[in-house]
Symmetry: D2
Subunit: 344 residues, 4 copies
């Protein structure tokens, strides 16, 4: 059994990691930490764990000491120091924050307002989107787990970019996310009566996931990709739906595009290309590690519309992190992640 | 007091009309009709009217007979015959269906599968969006009340098109609507457990509001406008939020655009241009006849992002119909419609 | 026009008061205050007021100075000092907090942990539930507006107690409230993802509304009433539904009880006794000042089940406060309050 | 691997059974049936199964032929004929309908309006609530799976009745259920806009689960138990919360009651007695087979308040059915059911 630990256990992503890891057949969750809850039992904070998980929050150092692989689910700016520790001890860090997602320090500086603390560590890290660069992931000990919105958009666009179907100049990504994406931190924006019976866009034109999406899509396509990305807050707990609009380079029928998508992802355990005529929706992937994608063409012009849905807490965070662990450790990629969505 | 009636009283739009008309200071609601509920009291069907409204459903002919102005809130294909009757008797019809929204029969045929029954009536009808063509409305006796999605999109784009700020070639309209938009008719798509905790797109590339939007925007701009329109179903009761992406023709700063929007709508009682930096959201217009609009620019290119929100049942249907009546009758335009949104 | 002011304008109840008062035909809202938002415009905090209300938050003293009647919507413990000021100046205070609801200091001490600051003021105050003691309200200058849960329960039980139909020993009140009841203050208990898709009971056996309910019911019946009261938090914004179980004293048929309820409330503008066979539900009173009550009998024993529903922000708070003002000022009791519920 | 089948596969309970059985380590789901969907793939109806389950709906006879154990999830009145077939062939039927839940034909007649079709079969059936009569279940081939509301109430009351703590005369059960309980059949009562932002009670004093609860509680206590049961419809998908009020027979402290509950259920894998001071809530058991129970005492009298929560689709239906199968087949009782609730 692999010894694993979770740093940042009391955030929503940390709690979701615990839920998955406790049931994972090949790992043992040795320790969890949280700065604010040291000494407290996880089940006293999250009652859903009552009678199931009795781990006590300790500190970061203890988690690293007891684990061979560490998950960090922290706000950005806190993971480089952890990576410095794990790397020194030849342990693996899967970071669910943003610290290692951008390869260029200038981008990190521009969008997050911070410099790289340990520049060398970044050369030893990889942005790990399994469906894009699975084979390379095993060579690294510092894993940058993709963001939630980026995962939905990158998976939705990858086959179109790889097949050179679409223009890279003007891709519109209109994304909608459930409220767990905003985390457990109190804020008027996450107050029940403000979110309920409402829809609101936010961070229009300047959301921090933008450079991550641009960098990954540019790597995929080999060209500089330009996107417009608008996130919206939905009155639901879980799920992201991205509606992606792209200009087809030449007339190409939807059937052909669909066929190449199905072919591209045919061996992927977590990706479903919906039959033509079907529309991917959030409820079909909620509480799973799946990404469902449906393809559509506008009635009067050469435009491809892609709908891509994931659960923001699973394929968009904790699930993909465990998927990356499975790849790193040569486990079955679906170990601990083979969830079927609920019918209702 | 103007004598008015409602045909199609038991649908959600009909019921909303009744609520407004009962409280309107200058009209008397004389009769309501519903094919399926003849003889039944409105308050036995909608308990919210209990103790307030005791009208009994009668038939269409009775409504026309008793009213000087008739509202029809019916599925498409049923209003032309009503218009034939009201026009003959020199009464006014405000039609909340689609029968008179498209000026070209070929479009109606293509998108709704029907021919015009009474071609001449169409020449005597007007698509009545007050903020666009208020002054002409009074010349007509057959009023086509705009659709809900079209209202949100047309109001959002009008100043940009009138001022020639944006390209008309490639406007993306990503719209999200609450479930009242699907009406009271039973369907698995409107079943509680299917809508709740979900988001789904539908009718992608072929929604029937598309030709209506195209025709109106083309009239506004004087050029053939091309749009992509994708509606989504939100797990809320009321409200539409349209996120509209357009390409700016030349570099123009957001401040200037904002100023011209504010100027354009400065005398409009129901339109609010939000201050720069604010984002229009559904809860601020829910249960009102308002349309709030906010303007945004993308970080790295000449693209304008417009957020336009309305209550689909009010400015998107019953409210706008009453606004049109107010205009036709020279009432105060806000009579019966001066709702302030609830803070929560 | 009566000059009125609101102290505690930024809480949910304060904002609801503002919405009603702005549209009230016989008052002018002169000033509002909020300790934390002095100098800020209400519409910059509540965007729903944008373009409608531009009042700027000032301090308490200013509000009292400018107003002849003051509403205070504050946490308990802050209103006595305000009353001291208004009473001295012969102005009216309608207090939506708990400071003047309990007549016995020992109860206030026991349930709220505080002593009465100005004992004499309490003799000059009245617990004002119009349907119970309308005629006495006009004699007072300090008005204690009832709590939300108490209003739903007291109105539901009043005719049964007055008619001596039920035992006063063992009344079970199982109440369910929407999340606005918890206010705008941030708390994990009001965090969207904690409330959504959940139901939870709280303060079981020790909620502070208990002594208020007991005192009022005891006054109504003339005997010491004993209740069990359990509140629950619903995943909705507005509304309270109380399911009340009482033991009938003797065999009495439901028809007779129903008749006496209808008779009891026949002149009340805000109370609807639903026809036998109907069940009162939250959506039929939401966004109104109404209280709908339905009556039911258990299948196998002499037990009466009463369902009583109100909007917690209106009849349960701001609406009832304005109703009390209308009574005090000899306005029409429905002035500013004649809302019809939305059909959906 | 045990060969199993599901009759009534397209209802919500049927779909939930399929989800569990597909992942169950010791069974093979051989066939499913649905009268209305013969020939259709389950994943074409429930898109959440897309890529995971490809079973095709057949007819009832085929399901029985292919299976050693059959689950029936049908409206009442249809299972006796199935039982007649399975019993003849010495196969096991786990019936999730009401046909075998009541032991007395007169009760079935009174509450469901039907006679027993095959009286002898009823002697060979058992009402199977594992925590009550686990040891007897294995002797039967016709298993009546308890209803959802009854499960929550019976588990909540069992230790108090067994220990003779409470009076059996006047137990009040105020229950609240999510909308999946009303199933997939279209109805205005399950229409999204009618359920959302609402709470309503229904079937007050005459819900069909009443005689089932009374019979089971009477068996548990050895005395005729009398209850009042009021169900309410919550605007959530999953979960039941029952608030149960009972009169303590003598003064007994809550600590002692809590201790005896904990002792009573100490070996039960699916029951959690929450620590004193905690309150059981729906989100902590949603999507699990657990029943969480919390215990409370009223402030001023000898009354016990029990909160009991389950997921109506799992412990209240499909999960308990699989638990019963596990018991019948000597599998681990938690096989296929060891779900941890999501933190959000």
């Amino acid at each position: 059994m692999l010894k694993v630990g979770v740093i940042g256990a009391i955030g929503y992503v940390g709690a979701e990691l615990i839920r998955i890891l406790i049931n994972h057949p090949k790992v043992k969750l040795e320790a969890i930490s949280s700065t604010s809850y040291i000494g407290e039992t996880i089940s006293s904070i999250y009652k859903n764990f009552y009678g199931k998980v009795n781990l006590i929050c300790t500190d970061m150092e203890e988690v690293i000491k007891k684990s061979d692989l560490v998950f960090a689910a922290l706000p950005h700016g806190l993971s480089e120091e952890i990576a410095e520790l794990t790397f020194k001890e030849n342990k693996i860090l899967i970071d669910l924050g943003a610290d290692f997602r951008l390869s260029k320090e200038e981008d990190y500086k521009k969008w997050y307002g911070l410099n790289f603390l340990f520049k060398d560590l970044h050369k030893n890290s990889i942005y790990a989107l399994p469906e894009f660069n699975r084979s390379k992931i095993k060579n690294y000990k510092i894993i940058a787990n993709p963001g939630c919105y980026p995962t939905s958009i990158e998976l939705g666009l990858m086959p179109a970019l790889k097949n050179n179907f679409i223009s890279v100049d003007n891709i519109i990504c209109d994304s909608k996310s459930g409220a767990t994406g905003a985390g457990r931190t109190l804020s008027l924006k996450s107050h029940y009566t403000e979110v309920n019976e409402n829809l609101s866009a936010y961070a229009i034109g300047n959301h921090r996931h933008t450079p991550e999406i641009v960098e990954c899509l540019s790597k995929i396509s080999g060209k500089k990709v330009s996107i417009t990305f608008t996130p919206h807050l939905l009155p639901i707990n879980r799920g992201i739906l991205s509606t992606i609009y792209c200009n087809l380079k030449k007339e190409i029928c939807l059937e052909e595009i669909h066929k190449s998508y199905a072919e591209f992802y045919k061996n992927e355990p977590f990706i479903n290309i919906m039959p033509l005529g079907e529309t991917a929706q959030i409820k079909d992937v909620k509480y799973t590690n799946n990404c469902n994608i449906s393809l559509h063409q506008d009635h009067n012009k050469n435009q491809l519309i892609i709908i891509s849905v994931i659960d923001n807490m699973l394929k968009g965070a904790a699930g993909q992190a465990v998927q990356n662990m499975n790849i790193l450790m040569d486990f079955e990629e679906t170990d601990g992640l083979d969830f079927i969505a609920f019918s209702n």
